[in-house]
């Protein structure tokens, strides 16, 4: 099962709690049809109306329900951003937002269905938890925990995944240890495998997380030497401010890799976009090597 299928299955489980309500805007409505039949009134499909989807989530939360809101990343986070800001945060209530599509899962669909800025936008808000699982098996535990809480969270699902799961990776988890003082590469979610391949023969420590917010700054400070490399599957630099603040009292250098800002106006596959954004193993290696090669003194 891919992450979306695991999400639907797990969401059906958590619907056993009468507080849980799923709010949809047609996306995945067919997959949720059995759950809707079993729990009428707690699987709400508002049609193709994203402002209403988030507004409804806010109203549900005001009555004490725990809404799970789901759509494609750009429709969920970008289309109704003011509803997220006002109908959830400003009302002092929370919801669990679950997106599919990630940065370019639907590459052939073009710009309208790409969501590289989602995490950066959520990051303009306070106290949100952001989970970016790297494997379908990481999804059930994350969703169950989020639904138990009351605060707001964003769970970003993707068709891209690593070969194996790391279910407990909220805090930075060292996957490859190159020893004290080695450059630290932090890979977020599904980019771990490419990052590992990129530095396989380089003296670089690799740590993994599927929880970029709140970022494990204590773990970062414990692991970081001088050089820190961020590899994020969404907009490049999204976590740069967090890393910069965490290491403000120390000399350090930061390379923040991720999806570029430009609209490439190209289709193809997610793997093509990985390559075009320099996020495949070869591209990551080029960037890391350039970053770690001592710069020549200017003539």
């Amino acid at each position: 099962m891919d992450m979306r299928e695991v999400f639907v299955t797990t969401a059906e489980e958590v619907l056993a709690d009468p507080r849980t309500t799923i709010v949809l805007a047609d996306i995945s409505a067919a997959a949720f049809a059995p759950a809707a039949a079993r729990y009428p009134g707690r699987v709400v499909n508002v049609g193709i109306r994203e402002q209403l989807m988030v507004g409804v989530a806010g109203g549900l939360a005001l009555t004490g329900q725990r809404p799970i809101v789901h759509s494609y990343a750009p429709f969920l986070v970008e289309r109704a951003y003011e509803q997220i800001k006002l109908d959830l945060d400003h009302q002092g209530v929370g919801a669990v937002l679950v997106s599919v599509g990630a940065s370019y899962d639907r590459a052939a669909a073009g710009r309208t269905h790409l969501g590289p800025a989602d995490v950066a936008l959520i990051d303009t808000l306070r106290d949100w938890t952001v989970h970016v699982p790297g494997h379908p098996d990481e999804v059930p535990g994350l969703l169950r925990d989020l639904v138990c809480g009351r605060d707001s969270a964003y769970l970003r699902l993707s068709t891209q995944a690593n070969a194996r799961a790391y279910p407990e990776a909220g805090e930075l988890r060292v996957v490859r240890d190159a020893g004290p003082g080695a450059p630290l590469l932090v890979a977020v979610g599904p980019l771990l495998d490419a990052a590992l391949a990129a530095v396989a023969d380089r003296p670089v420590t690799v740590a993994y997380t599927h929880r970029p917010r709140p970022f494990d700054t204590a773990g970062l400070r414990a692991l970081a030497g001088i050089e820190v490399i961020l590899v994020e599957p969404y907009l490049a630099g999204t976590s740069a401010r967090v890393v910069g603040a965490a290491l403000a009292d120390r000399p350090h250098r930061l390379l923040a890799l991720g999806v570029g800002r430009s609209d490439l106006r190209r289709y193809g596959t997610p793997e093509d976009h990985d390559r075009w954004h320099g996020l495949d193993a070869a591209g990551l290696r080029r960037s890391v090597d350039a970053f770690l090669t001592p710069a020549r003194a200017a003539a």
């Binding site: 009134g41 508002v46 109306r49 402002q51 209403l52 409804v56 109203g59 549900l60 109908d87």
Partner: protein
């Protein structure tokens, strides 16, 4: 329990003057007062003691700028201390130019940006329904210009299609929408399956009848037309 104590107009006027503190108020402040009085005197089952009761009626002020009369009424009904009305909008005040539910007892939503209340109201109505609470009703007060915001039409269509019978919208129609609503604001609701009444927004008896005399099987809208005094 329905609150039936009429608010003394002289008291309300005095409290409003206290909020006003010599400033000029826009017409929307006065055009909303009658609807608010009828709601709080005769329709809403809310008291200062029941602001957290899950079975209370909900009143969502979506047109958050119509706040002066709202604050005055909340003070008259004992939801907030009268002293709060002084220095409204000041650095230490809990009463902004738009209401904040986290700062003001009895305020159900923080509003200001137009077009958010009806979606929140639909969600509230769905939440009450999911909890089996068939008694409380959700009332959302909007303005006719606020209907310009497309988010309202998402909510109107969905509430009508699903027969959300515990939801009432009140549109204060002071003819302020830049491009108007040819055929009347109510038609935007009725075409989607709502029941509707259009009444004189100054006529308390007519407002009360319009707010209470419907079947509760479908969402209901009351368009309160206020043309005098803008």
């Amino acid at each position: 329990m329905t609150t039936t104590t009429a608010t003394d107009p002289a008291l309300l006027g005095a409290l409003l003057d206290r909020v006003r503190a010599g400033r000029e108020f826009g017409a929307n402040v006065y055009s909303t007062l009658d609807v608010l009085q009828v709601l709080y005197d005769r329709v809403l089952r809310i008291t200062p003691e029941t602001v957290d009761d899950p079975d209370r009626d909900r009143f969502l002020l979506s047109k958050g700028h119509a706040v002066a009369g709202y604050y005055a009424l909340l003070a008259a009904k004992g939801f907030v201390p009268v002293a709060w009305l002084d220095d409204q909008g000041g650095p230490e005040s809990r009463l902004g130019d738009h209401p904040d539910r986290l700062l003001v007892p009895g305020v159900e939503i923080g509003s200001g940006s137009l077009g958010h209340g009806l979606g929140l109201g639909v969600g509230t109505a769905l939440g009450l329904r999911a909890q089996g609470r068939t008694d409380p009703r959700v009332y959302v007060l909007l303005g006719d210009a606020e209907l310009d915001e497309g988010s309202n039409h998402e909510a109107i269509a969905y509430a009508g299609a699903t027969g959300l019978g515990n939801l009432t919208a009140i549109v204060l129609d002071n003819r302020s929408a830049s491009h108007g609503w040819p055929g009347g604001a109510a038609s935007r609701f009725t075409v989607n399956g709502w029941t509707a009444e259009t009444v004189d927004g100054r006529d308390h008896a007519a407002l009360h009848t319009a707010l209470t005399g419907h079947d509760h099987h479908r969402p209901h809208v009351v368009v309160a037309v206020v043309t005098d005094g803008e």
